[in-house]
C-alpha cells in the first residue's frame, strides 16, 4: 500500500460538486449552528463544570500524601534534605508512570504488546523504568545531601543514598505493577488506555511515591 493513499481526504474534495454553491458560500463563514457547537465546547461554564469535579477529587486524594507529610513535620523541619526529596519524588513518580503507560498503550494499539514477561516491549519498558529510576535517585541522593548541608541540615550522605536508592527502586517496581495492571484492566474493560490510564496512574504514583519515601525514611532513620 502506498503511503499517500491513506492521506487522501475522504468526502467533499470538489467544491463544484456542491448542489447549492451560492447558499453554501454565503453562510459558510458564520454558519450559526456549527460555530455555536464550537463555542459551546469552549464556553467557560462547560470547561469549569467538566474540570472542577475532577480537580476536587484529585485534591482530596492528594490529602493522603499531605497527611503523611504533616505527620513527619518534625523530621522534615529538622532535616531539610528530606524536604528537598519531596517534590522530586512526587514529580518522578508521575513521570515514570506516564512514560510506562503511554508506551504500553501505544504498543497495545500497534498490537506489539502481550502481557508476558517474555515480550520484548515489556522487557524494554521495564528495563527503561528501572534505569531511569536508578539514574534519578542516585543523583537525588547526592543533590539532596549537598543542598541539605547548605541549608544547615546534618543528615549524612550514606543514609540519604540508602533512602533515595531503596525508595527509587521500590517506586520503579510499583510503577511497573500499577501501569501494567491499569493498562490491562482498561483494555479488558474496553476503554482506550490512552484516555484512562495516564491521569489515574500519574496521580496514584504521585501519592504512593510519598508513602514509599516516608516508609523508607521511617525504617532507615528508625524514627
Amino acid at each position: 500500500m502506498s503511503g499517500r493513499s491513506g492521506t487522501n481526504p475522504g468526502p467533499d474534495p470538489d467544491p463544484d460538486s456542491d448542489p447549492n454553491p451560492d447558499l453554501e458560500s454565503d453562510s459558510a463563514p458564520d454558519d450559526p449552528p456549527l460555530s455555536d457547537a464550537f463555542v459551546d465546547e469552549w464556553a467557560i461554564s462547560n470547561i469549569v463544570t467538566t474540570l472542577v469535579p475532577l480537580l476536587v477529587a484529585l485534591s482530596a486524594l492528594q490529602m493522603g500524601s499531605g497527611t503523611v507529610l504533616e505527620s513527619f513535620e518534625d523530621q522534615l523541619l529538622e532535616n531539610p534534605s528530606l524536604l528537598v526529596l519531596v517534590p522530586v519524588m512526587i514529580g518522578t513518580a508521575g513521570n515514570l508512570g506516564s512514560i510506562m503507560c503511554a508506551r504500553m498503550s501505544t504498543q497495545l494499539h500497534l498490537g506489539t504488546l502481550e502481557f508476558s514477561p517474555a515480550n520484548p516491549n515489556v522487557r524494554a519498558n521495564v528495563g527503561a523504568v528501572y534505569g531511569l529510576a536508578a539514574t534519578v535517585f542516585v543523583l537525588l541522593g547526592f543533590a539532596s545531601w549537598g543542598i541539605g548541608r547548605a541549608l544547615g541540615g546534618t543528615l549524612g550522605l550514606v543514609p540519604l543514598l540508602i533512602i533515595t536508592i531503596v525508595s527509587g527502586m521500590l517506586l520503579a517496581t510499583w510503577v511497573v505493577i500499577v501501569s501494567s495492571v491499569s493498562v490491562y484492566a482498561s483494555y479488558r474493560l474496553g476503554y482506550d488506555p490512552d484516555d484512562t490510564t495516564i491521569p489515574v496512574v500519574t496521580n496514584v504514583c504521585d501519592i504512593t511515591g510519598v508513602l514509599i519515601l516516608f516508609g523508607v525514611v521511617w525504617v532507615v532513620l528508625g524514627l
Binding site: 463555542v39 467557560i44 469549569v48 474540570l51 485534591s59 492528594q62 534534605s81 528537598v84
Partner: protein, 190 residues
C-alpha cells in the same frame, strides 16, 4: 531493523525530560527547605498537608488548558497570538476560575483534615494563603504557558510536546515560591 525499541533506546529518549524534572524538583525542594519556608511550615499548621494537592492541581488546571489550546491551534480554532477573542478568553478565564475554586477548596479541605487529625488550625489563614498563592500562580502560569505555546507554535514546535514539561517545571517551582510569598503576606495581614 528491529520492530521495537530496546530498554536503552527508551532510556535515552526519556532521560532529558526526567532530568529536567529532577532539576526543577530540586529547585522547588531547595525553596521548601529554606529557613523562611521552614519557619512558615512551623507557624502555619496544615501547610504541609495541602502542599501535594496544591502542586498537583497546578498541573491539572494548566496542563488541561495547555492541551485545549494545543488542540485549538491544531484545529485552527484559535490564533497563536494574544488576541482577547472569544475562545482564547473563555479558556483562559475558565482555567483562572478553576484554579481559584480549587485553591479555596484545598484550603477548606486541609482545615477539615487538620480537625479530623485532632490538630488545630486557622481556616481564615489557610484560605487567605491559598487564595493569594492561587492568584499569583494563575497569572504567572497563564503568562508563561501562553507565551511558550504561541512563540513555540509560530516557530514550528508542536505545543503537545512542550506543555507537559513546561507545566510541571514552572508549576512546581512557582507553586512553592508563591506559597512562600502568600505565607509572608498573610503573616503581615493577620
Amino acid at each position: 531493523m528491529r520492530g521495537y525499541d530496546t530498554a536503552f533506546d527508551v532510556y535515552r529518549q526519556a532521560l532529558p525530560v526526567i532530568l529536567v524534572s529532577l532539576v526543577a524538583g530540586l529547585f522547588a525542594g531547595t525553596l521548601l527547605g529554606t529557613e523562611t519556608m521552614r519557619n512558615g511550615i512551623e507557624s502555619v499548621p496544615g501547610l504541609l498537608l495541602l502542599l501535594p494537592a496544591f502542586l498537583a492541581t497546578r498541573g491539572g488546571v494548566y496542563g488541561s488548558l495547555g492541551a485545549r489550546l494545543s488542540s485549538g491551534l491544531h484545529q485552527g480554532l484559535i490564533e497563536p497570538s494574544f488576541e482577547w477573542n472569544g475562545r482564547l478568553r473563555n479558556a483562559v478565564l475558565a482555567s483562572f476560575i478553576n484554579g481559584m475554586v480549587v485553591s479555596v477548596f484545598i484550603a477548606v479541605l486541609a482545615y477539615v483534615v487538620l480537625l479530623a487529625l485532632g490538630r488545630s488550625g486557622s481556616l481564615l489563614e489557610l484560605v487567605l494563603i491559598l487564595t493569594i498563592a492561587g492568584f499569583l500562580s494563575a497569572f504567572t502560569m497563564l503568562g508563561v504557558l501562553l507565551t511558550v505555546m504561541f512563540k513555540g507554535y509560530r516557530r514550528g514546535l508542536d505545543p503537545d510536546n512542550v506543555i507537559g514539561p513546561v507545566v510541571t517545571t514552572v508549576g512546581d517551582v512557582f507553586g512553592v515560591i508563591f506559597l512562600l510569598v502568600a505565607v509572608a503576606i498573610t503573616g503581615v495581614v493577620l
